[in-house]
Every structure is written in structure tokens, then in C-alpha cells.
Amino acid sequence: MRGDPEAHELIAPRTLTGVLSLLASEPGQWTPIAGGTELMVAFAAGRLTARKLVNLWGVPDLRFIRTEPDRIVIGAGSTFRDLRKDPTVSAEFPLIAKAASWIGSIANQSRATLGGNLVNGSPAADSSPALLAYDAHAELISIRSTRIVPYAEFHTGYKRNVLAPDELLYAVHLPRRFAQHRQYLRKVGTRRAMAISKTALAGCALIEQGVVREIRIAAASIAAFPTRLYRAEDVVSGQSITSETIRAARAAALSEIVPIDDIRSTAEYRRVVTVNLLQEFLGSLPSAGGES
């Protein structure tokens, strides 16, 4: 069945306050729509259940990338094209620029927003592993207040998150402190362009005198939502990278990821390839023996 445009209300407030007031007036009733790269697919196929939609595309105050001394703040309405062309993102957060280049085609990148990617909450979301590796925080806004939560705590289940019914994801904050960190991101899909990941892994680590001083590892398509691999992080934290620590990290990662069989891949393939990516990342880090 095709989507019927008359069956859906779509309100376009001119201001952010207008959007927030509408969300507060009937909490949980209004579904925000930004670039439409997810919701319009459901609409065209006649499976969009939301009957009341509120437009975010073009609303001022949602699309910005602000560079501050110790962090950058990315408005949730920023598109992946915005992220690819921002000089601070490219220079200091290359994993995000790389992930942005993977999101569909040029025509998708010009419309899909960072906020949409996160709120949609696909387990395969391309931007999520990089954000987790960079210790991102999410700023949530409502007519009542604003609050900031670690992005690692944003997703709570399959397509579920911590947003209250009247809240909107307003911005993502990234600390500017990774110049000395080793950074890694790799996605495995069916083909190079336009493919949704079978698995993807990001890592960000600070190595001093051959010892892992700080590390975050995150993956997509291996659980109900993109997540940190905390056990693997714990295994290597404070250690030097050796074949033994890599082996232990692989085992730890296997104990915490819960991939499934679906149309894109199998659970077994995802388990094997995810820990291979982990090994590639850890193996690329300088070891105690010598600088790599």
C-alpha cells in the first residue's frame, strides 16, 4: 500500500520554541522529521504509523557546528555533508568525517542529519561507533529544561532511548582532546558504497610508554543498539599491547557482543569479523617493544 499524504498531519513551526511547545502540548504524540531519509521511506511504503509529524528541517538553531576552546558542539540538525566539510571535524574527529562519507549517497548525506541518525537508533547507525569512541555527550532540550547525558547512555534498547516524550535531541558535544590518540574506524558491508554495515568498529586510544592509558572501543550491528565494548576495554587498559592482551581482548569482546542473524549477515560472521576488526585496531597500536 502507498502512503497517503492526507493521512498524515505535518506541522512546520518556524522556531525551535514552536517545536518544543508543540511537543510539550501533547507529549509523545508528535514525531519530529528532519531530513526524511528514514521516515519518508516508511511513508512511501505505507508503513509510517506516526500520524502527527513536526518538521525540523530548516528550523533555525538546530543546524550549526560551533567550535569552542575545549569542545565542539554539533547541532542535531547538521547534515552529514555539514560534518564532512567542517574543518574542525575533519582535523580533530576524522572518524566522524569518515563515517559521514559512508552514509548512503551524496543525496542522502545532504539531507540525513546527525540527530536523525541517533534518534532513529538503528543498531547499524554509521555515526554511533565514532561518537562512542570520542566520548560524545548528547544535549537534550525541552520547554522545561536542558540536560546533558553521556551518549553511551542514550540508547536503552532496540530503537529506544532516554528522550522524554516532550524532549528533543538538541546537540552532540565532543571534547577536543584526541590529538595524541590513536584512532580507528572500519565498516564491513556488502559493497563499498550505499551499504548498511554487517559490523563496524571504532577505537580511540592513548598510549604512553607502550601502555594503554585510555581506550574506548565501540561497535555497531552487534547488539540491539551501538555500544561500547567495555570488557575488551578493561582487558587492555593499563596493559601493553602483546599477542596475549589481544587474545584476551578478543575473548572479552566475544563475551559481550550479541549479534543476530538477519538479511545482511549472520551472527557467526559478525562475531568473527568484529573481533578481527578489534585485533586489527589493537595490533595497530604501538607496543612496549618499540614505536610503530
Partner: protein, 169 residues
């Protein structure tokens, strides 16, 4: 439903347009049904194939994924706007000469994606051409003739420029 919808105003290929349609109606359907611009095609209807590509405020977009209310105030460019006074653009001529169009369904979107690429980057590498057209699927040509068409357009532009430089000397 006999609701009278508020008007949505935008420009298409330079001409002001005003439509009274449900705000959720897809830009693709407004172009084809309300403005009778049938050059823009629907392929997959889910942002994978690019046959509905148009430019909106200078960005390439899939018009099947744009609720028309989001086009309020925008400048839209469609394939109908490429030729002027029935004179084809060099890109269109190159598609004809190089066999870049066969069945023709992907062609309007392919032309819009290619012209968007060349507007941004007049001398793209083959890698950049491939990336620029990665969201446009063609089931006839195997893509090589389409890449050849874009390369021929660039080559023609280079030779025109060289001629101009020679004439200026």
C-alpha cells in the same frame, strides 16, 4: 478530504510556483502531478536508486524523500532546467554521444547527479565521479558509458577553455 491546504511557494528552474497540496506530499509527486514536470522519475521510492534526484538550494536530494513543505521558499532544479531554448547542455550531448543513456529511466537522475558534481568540482577524478554517482543506479549501461559521458564533458570543457586561451593570445 476537501481541506483547503495552505499554499507552499518555491521556485522550479527559476520560475516561481505555488501549490496547495498536503504538506506531507512528496516533492517528487508535486513535480510530476501538480507541476507536470515528468522528467523526474520514481525508481525505488526509498532513497537507494537516485532516479528522482533534483537539486534543492544547490544540494543534490532524492525528491522522493522530501515532504513538500520542506521545499517552502527553496530553489529547485530539475532535469527540465538543464537545456536552455531547446539547446542541450554539453553534459546531455555527451550522454547521447557516449551511450550514457539506454532505457532512460535513470538518466534524469544521473544527469542531475553529474551536473551537481560538475557544479561543485569541474575537474573530478574518476574516483570522485564514481562517488558522485554512487547513489544513482543504472541497470543498462554497466556505468562505464555513464562515467565516459562525464569524462567526455570534462574533456570538451577543457578543450573549449584551451581554444579560448589560444584565441586570447
Amino acid at each position: 478530504m476537501s481541506t483547503s491546504w495552505p499554499s507552499i511557494v518555491f521556485r522550479v528552474n527559476g520560475s516561481p510556483q505555488s501549490v496547495r497540496v498536503p504538506p506531507m506530499k512528496r516533492l517528487l509527486d508535486v513535480l510530476r502531478e501538480d507541476l507536470h514536470l515528468n522528467g523526474t522519475k520514481e525508481g525505488c521510492g526509498e532513497g537507494e536508486c537516485g532516479s528522482c534526484s533534483v537539486r534543492m538550494d544547490g544540494e543534490l536530494v532524492n525528491s522522493c524523500m522530501v515532504p513538500v513543505v520542506q521545499a517552502q521558499g527553496a530553489c529547485i532544479e530539475t532535469v527540465e532546467g538543464l537545456a536552455s531554448n531547446d539547446e542541450m547542455q554539453p553534459l546531455q550531448k555527451a550522454f547521447l554521444e557516449c551511450g550514457g543513456a539506454q532505457c532512460g529511466i535513470c538518466t534524469p537522475g544521473m544527469l542531475m547527479a553529474a551536473s551537481h558534481l560538475l557544479a561543485r568540482n569541474p575537474r573530478p577524478t574518476l574516483g570522485e565521479i564514481r562517488e558522485g554517482l554512487a547513489g544513482n543506479l543504472c541497470r543498462c549501461t554497466g556505468f562505464i558509458r555513464i562515467f565516459d559521458s562525464v569524462i567526455a564533458t570534462i574533456a570538451a570543457d577543457v578543450s573549449v577553455n584551451r581554444q579560448r586561451e589560444n584565441n586570447a593570445r
